[in-house]
Symmetry: C2
Subunit: 413 residues, 2 copies
């Protein structure tokens, strides 16, 4: 494969995580170290930055400051929920992207994100090919939801799982201190896949009594029966639920108590929230117990002190590998993880075709959930435990994490 | 002072924290090491354990396992919200306490807690004295609220403050990633004193734009004006509020949207919650912005990975000092902290009379809050920054904190 000289453009997309900046850093450092890559740009607010001609000049950042990105949560480039149209219907956005690519001589395009981002990569790549513009496109996986198809797991998930397991362990101790019983409902993210809420099971002896995943139908009466029985038996009950649990008709349980202003995001996903409070109220009604609803909220994706070092290292490696592969001639692929667990955990980076990854969601296998659908089985724990290993090597300053402070120079400013 | 031989009884009271077990460990180890102390008991569920004759035999616990208590959040002995009556009105409970003290030859009584606990210590001590039963009573301070009178700060506060500052810093990064503006409301605990919410200011450049303490009256219209102006100017607004903010008539803002089932605990305190959601809804109504309410909930008092090592060390030392002073003849005192900040932070342990500490609340000084009442000034940061220093030396196992697992043998079982 002939070498390709030109600039690289890196973007972050979808929800922020504790690990997405580690992936960006891996990609940026590999770009800076590559003799084929002439300039390194970053998209301000994801694909919107391309459409708006707002690109950060990353090669003018201080390299020591950049290094702190590995331990800085959130998406430092910014992100957006803008969805590109199907180019067969309307190629305006794609024409604009091509124009910007030509303006900056972008020959390498790296997008870090989840399913929607891989779809964007796929469409941009096909459009460039169809228009005879040579550009190597690589997807770098990132989603706390862990629902990307074809890879053992996704960067970002291990850190969120570590946060959820640790928090469940701590809440378990906190919730049992009083001489009166209590029912605690912990709400985790995860719209369609239960990987996040399942991580509650990693708390072992301290794990919630009941765990509900969105892979199965949620029946309110069965739930209240389960909670009531445990409350009568133990006095204390802790429940973990995914925001995405829904009834047999597919209606989100979070909509049961919605005030009517339920909105959808631009991908058509219903905006969720308030579920813990709804279930706590129902449990109180049924049992008369003291109840507490805890929404883990965005803390589960940005709690940098609880990031998994394994996750951060793998995330960094996936960004780095994407660039190295692209420079060596690979295009149209996403970095994936191929894992061996028997005889010790090993994680090998592999290349997956973009079009099979895009828009396919990977669910928690049914056989990893118990028959009654309210617990996670040891097979899940064997799967997830290696992903939460290792404490963050984050730098601290004055008792708080030290995050990257970047210049954020806009190319056309 | 003649030496006093007998058993020691240790209790934890009020809400759990990341540091209250460190104080208990300091007291337990000092008891175990004292030749005057014959047995070491712990109260199951605070003073209720005494009334119910449910005492843990702490000297039969494994000492290595006990050591893990320093890094185990929550109150391992359990706690209760039971309030002793005034003995002048009804001394039934006190007669029962005396009976139990005699049964176990309790000559040393240590209660770890906040204002209410110091009041309990004070009443028990006076009753024993009036009834000619020799017993040395010491209070060990603990409250994330930091509102105990006479001491520079309270064990438990530094860890909660570190959690709040870190979380505000992380949320600040997370909330600014989108290309559309957002208003984020973060709700901290602190019913009558604003020490906890003020800790948001420790996040420095990442601190919330507006911080509201319960020391001042909260005016909804002024708040909405402030938020609206900042939203128009910056696109993004982050606000931190104490659960205890109230209007000029003293009505809690959290009651503005209450569903009517507002309840009070047995100390007559109104149970709070849901404030972040109420303010987010009002801000949305006013600005039309995307809003998010985050209730830090009990995570702020049990997040052991974010405990301040300074706080844990001081907490341990206060428990230890209480026992050493009692053995040397001191009674009726609470351990307090006398701090020097100029020329480097030093913290000296001092003895404070119980009766001046009990039931007096220490507020954030008016001069540490700005004129408009929506920001905290640098004097507060100078005060609080030393308290959040140092990362936890917590032991980890399989990627999660390793907590103490105790036998919890009940004396009369």
């Amino acid at each position: 494969m002939a070498s390709l000289q030109g600039a690289a453009l890196i973007g972050q997309s979808g929800g922020p995580t504790s690990a997405i900046n580690a992936a960006a850093l891996g990609a940026i450092e590999a770009c800076l170290d590559s003799p084929d890559i002439t300039r390194v740009y970053g998209m301000q607010y994801g694909i919107r930055g391309v459409l708006d001609d707002k690109l950060y000049v990353l090669d003018e950042e201080d390299r020591d400051e950049l290094k702190l990105l590995k331990y800085t949560p959130s998406s430092f480039l910014g992100t957006c929920r803008y969805k590109l149209k199907n180019p067969a219907d309307d190629d305006t956005d794609y024409q604009r992207i091509l124009e910007i690519f030509k303006k900056y001589d972008i020959r390498y395009f790296f997008l870090i994100g989840g399913n929607d981002s891989m779809d964007t990569c796929n469409k941009v790549s096909k459009f460039m090919l169809d228009n005879g513009y040579e550009c190597r496109v690589m997807g770098i996986p990132k989603t706390i939801d862990n629902d990307l198809y074809g890879t053992d797991h996704c960067p970002g998930y291990g850190s969120a799982a570590k946060y959820i397991a640790t928090t469940c362990k701590e809440v378990s101790l906190d919730a049992r201190v009083y001489d009166i019983g209590m029912i605690t409902i912990i709400e985790a993210m995860g719209r369609h896949a239960g990987w996040l809420v399942a991580a509650a099971a990693l708390a072992g002896d301290y794990a919630p009594d009941l765990i509900y995943l969105p892979e199965l139908e949620f029946d309110m009466e069965t739930f209240l029966d389960d909670v009531d029985a445990l409350y009568k038996k133990n006095g204390n009950v802790i429940v973990a639920v995914s925001e995405g649990i829904h009834d047999k008709d597919g209606k989100f349980i979070s909509e049961y108590g919605a005030s009517g202003d339920q909105t959808k995001d631009s991908f058509g996903h219903t905006q969720l929230g308030g579920l813990a409070a709804i279930l706590a109220a129902r449990a109180k009604e049924r049992t008369g117990a003291k109840v507490r609803g805890i929404e883990l909220s965005l803390l589960q994706r940005c709690a940098s002190r609880l990031a998994s070092q394994t996750d951060l290292d793998e995330s960094y490696a996936s960004g780095q590998a994407a660039v190295e592969h692209a420079v060596s001639g690979v295009t149209d692929k996403m970095i994936g993880f191929d894992v061996t667990r028997e005889g010790g955990y090993t994680c090998e980076l592999v290349l997956l075709p973009l079009d099979t990854v895009a828009n396919t969601e990977k669910k928690v296998p049914r056989e990893w959930i118990n028959e009654a659908g309210n617990k996670v089985l040891p097979a899940f724990v064997d799967y997830a435990l290696p992903l939460i290993q290792g404490e963050t090597k984050q730098e601290m300053q004055d008792g708080l994490p030290r995050f990257a402070k970047l210049k954020r120079i806009i190319a056309n400013a």
